[in-house]
């Protein structure tokens, strides 16, 4: 009698495949997609999962200033952020990081966790933090996947009057980074509702939340009392911050919209998961043009000069003429992985972070002999 009979063979094989897939495939592993943040000539970037580095840029690439956590420091080794999806918050002499694991840590300006010298760590949060936190004076706010909205103090991560210590319970999971404008905290949920709260008191502002009809995974305040509310139902709404009502009809995209727009002259430029990039007039909701990247667009683009620069999940950078929507060039970034982190504009360059932890810069200025727009890699990883 064989040890494993034929009846049990499929289950055993499934188990083996399952274990291999969980160990090797890793398609579900959180890795983070926080965009790089610049402060002068220093760039702060999450290279891989929870490896947070500060790099002083120079003409050759950059000098590695510090990395967090330092595995030689026991106190830092205990902090498990798992992955980080939102940008770090710079609050005075603190750098606050909110991890997917639900842990939040405040570092010193030198990137060190030193309890008693301004650093603190909190792990009293229910759920995972996906959208990152938003800073509002001496408090910061964030939501979690367990549908809880938190407002905490910058000073020590402690609770704030008007906001429950275990978070304010909403109806849906919170995946988007909350937005603060005029002392009001706006937050979207994955069940499609948009809420507005008085940051000081915690009171709800609108009589009822705005129903976007699809999951809200991203939220942007675009000025003039308007929120840009994209949904995974492929619709994009403009919502009046005062009334909580839609301004006009929604714009219908081809696929999920999970990105922030880049704005210029009353036009919003954004991409969707079907690979299209749209130029939409905010006043009328009319589409000026559509550009097809042929891969998902998760990252917010940037405008440099008269060129829109967009990165897609295929790892390709697209240079699109702002006026016509015609592609001027595309450059495939070998070894970049997917481009999910928002692009950042600095000094006439678009800075692009791939999921493989490489930082690139792109410029629309013609610098090559072939007359093509160029992407210059700034290799961050491996620097001394």
């Amino acid at each position: 009698m064989p040890l494993v009979t034929r009846r049990k063979l499929p289950f055993l094989l499934i188990a083996v495949v399952a274990i291999l897939s969980s160990a090797c495939v890793g398609f579900s592993e959180p890795r983070g997609w926080a965009e790089p943040v610049f402060d002068g000539e220093t760039v702060y970037v999450f290279l891989d999962r929870e490896e947070f580095v500060a790099v002083a840029l120079d003409e050759f690439g950059g000098q590695w200033m510090w990395t967090f956590p330092d595995e030689d420091i026991d106190a830092e080794d205990d902090i498990q952020l798992e992955a980080v999806y939102g940008p770090p918050l710079f609050a005075g002499d603190r750098v606050i990081l909110a991890g997917f694991s639900g842990e939040i840590v405040a570092l010193t300006a030198a990137g060190r966790y030193v309890p008693g010298q301004g650093s603190w760590q909190r792990d009293d949060v229910n759920g995972n933090i996906v959208g990152g936190a938003v800073l509002a004076g001496d408090v910061f706010a964030f939501g979690t996947t367990e549908a809880r909205l938190y407002v905490r103090r910058v000073e020590d991560g402690g609770t704030v009057a008007g906001w429950p210590s275990d978070g304010r319970r909403l109806d849906g999971e919170i995946w988007s980074q909350p937005v603060v404008a005029g002392g009001i905290l706006y937050v979207g949920t994955m069940d499609g509702n948009l809420y507005a709260f008085d940051l000081a008191t915690g009171a709800e502002i609108w009589p009822e939340p705005f129903d976007a009809g699809g999951a809200i995974a991203s939220l942007t305040f675009i000025g003039d009392g308007v929120l840009f509310v994209p949904t995974l139902g492929s619709e994009v709404w403009l919502v009046d911050t005062e009334t909580g009502q839609a301004r006009g009809r929604p714009f219908d995209a081809e696929g999920w919209v999970w990105t922030r727009p880049v704005l210029r002259d009353g036009i919003a430029y954004f991409g969707d998961f079907e690979g299209f990039v749209y130029a939409v007039e905010l006043a009328t909701g009319r589409s000026r043009w559509t550009y097809d990247t042929e891969s998902k667009v998760k990252a917010q683009g940037v405008i440099v000069g008269e060129t829109l620069i967009v990165g897609d999940e295929g790892g390709t950078v697209h240079f699109v003429d702002l006026a016509t929507g015609r592609g001027a060039n595309t450059v495939k970034l070998d070894g970049a992985g997917k481009i999910r982190a928002d692009l950042v504009e600095k000094d006439g360059f678009a800075w692009i972070l791939g999921t493989e932890g490489r930082l690139y810069r792109a410029t629309p200025v013609n610098r090559s002999d072939q007359g093509q727009l160029t992407v210059v890699e700034r290799e961050v990883r491996g620097l001394p």
Partner: protein
């Protein structure tokens, strides 16, 4: 001979199917074929079921597993029947093994016995091999649909059909009966153990000697423990699939084998035996010569096969 025609026709169909599959894989690649042909339909069906069943992903997984197991039931039934026929042949197989020491002759005699009984020794592997990609896809579909991280949700978008009914259903509710289906859960781990044990218990195997009986008993406990160990690292949604599919298998086992402990007879009759073919006189390589014709019914008797075979052997020796 009459049975050989449909068997050959079936074999022909399988061959045509295999050639078509190889062509598709060669054209589009294995990953794309697997994804578009199996994984994507399953993921979308899961999402549709989730919407139809009050937004409960747990109910969707249960319904989905039951549907898939019933759709593949003809394959499962064929596999179970082949296994049953193989089990019924064990006494004869052992008899042949005892009487013939020459491996070549032993093999010939065994193949002859299989032929007479209308059993293909690899017959129960065919349906199993066909089911295997389905089961793997099912596993991936549940894991993918749960979207346990932002990256997973991002990946999921590429698998969904562009119907607004499906697109608007995302993300799915992860909680079910107080469990987070995206994370491991002790309750479901316990259920995995119980259901796997029940499945082992209802799987009828013929223990022909003490050693085999001991191994069989050991497996009845080892398998549940092994699967419980696996499910500690799986999302509960995947473990829930495992539990449901195990209980469905228990049902299939009872339908096919019955449940002797409770005097429940099999609900599905075994396949019709082929017309008996006169068995050639088995001659051992050592020169033992016995001429006898074994009735085909005896070859296929499952309930008392071992006992009857021994009794007849004693009679023959006498």
């Amino acid at each position: 001979m009459i049975r050989a025609v449909p068997q050959r026709a079936g074999l022909g169909l399988v061959l045509v199917g295999l050639v078509a599959l190889v062509f598709v894989i060669a054209t589009y690649g294995f990953t794309r074929t697997f994804t578009v042909g199996l994984l994507d339909p399953m993921i979308n069906l899961l999402v549709v079921l989730n919407e139809a069943l009050w937004g409960s992903f747990g109910l969707a997984v249960i319904a989905f597993t039951i549907i898939v197991r019933f759709v593949t039931f003809p394959l499962t039934l064929r596999q179970l029947q082949q296994t049953r026929a193989m089990q019924a042949l064990q006494p004869l197989v052992q008899d042949i093994q005892k009487r013939f020491t020459d491996p070549k002759r032993r093999q010939e005699e065994m193949m002859k016995a299989y032929r007479q009984a209308g059993v293909n020794p690899l017959g129960c592997l065919g349906p199993l091999v066909l089911q295997f990609p389905v089961l793997i896809a099912l596993f991936y579909a549940i894991r993918q649909t749960l979207a346990i991280s932002p990256e997973a949700l991002d990946n999921l978008s590429g698998h969904l059909y562009s119907w607004s009914y499906i697109q608007r259903a995302i993300p799915l509710e992860e909680s079910f009966l107080g469990m987070n289906l995206a994370e491991p859960n002790y309750f479901i781990v316990a259920l995995v153990g119980i259901s796997t044990w029940a499945q082992s218990k209802t799987t009828v195997t013929v223990a022909t000697d003490d050693r085999a009986r001991t191994q069989q008993q050991m497996m009845q406990w080892m398998l549940p423990i092994m699967f419980m160990f696996f499910s500690f690292s799986f999302p509960s949604g995947v473990s829930l699939y495992w539990v449901v599919t195990s209980f469905v298998s228990v049902g299939f086992n009872v339908v096919t084998y019955g449940f002797p402990a409770l005097n429940v007879p099999p609900l599905v009759a075994p396949p019709k035996p082929p017309a008996p073919v006169e068995a050639a006189a088995p001659v051992s390589s050592e020169g033992e010569s016995r001429t006898r014709s074994r009735p085909s019914r005896e070859l296929r008797s499952s309930a008392h096969g071992t006992r009857r075979s021994k009794r007849k052997n004693r009679r023959r020796r006498a």
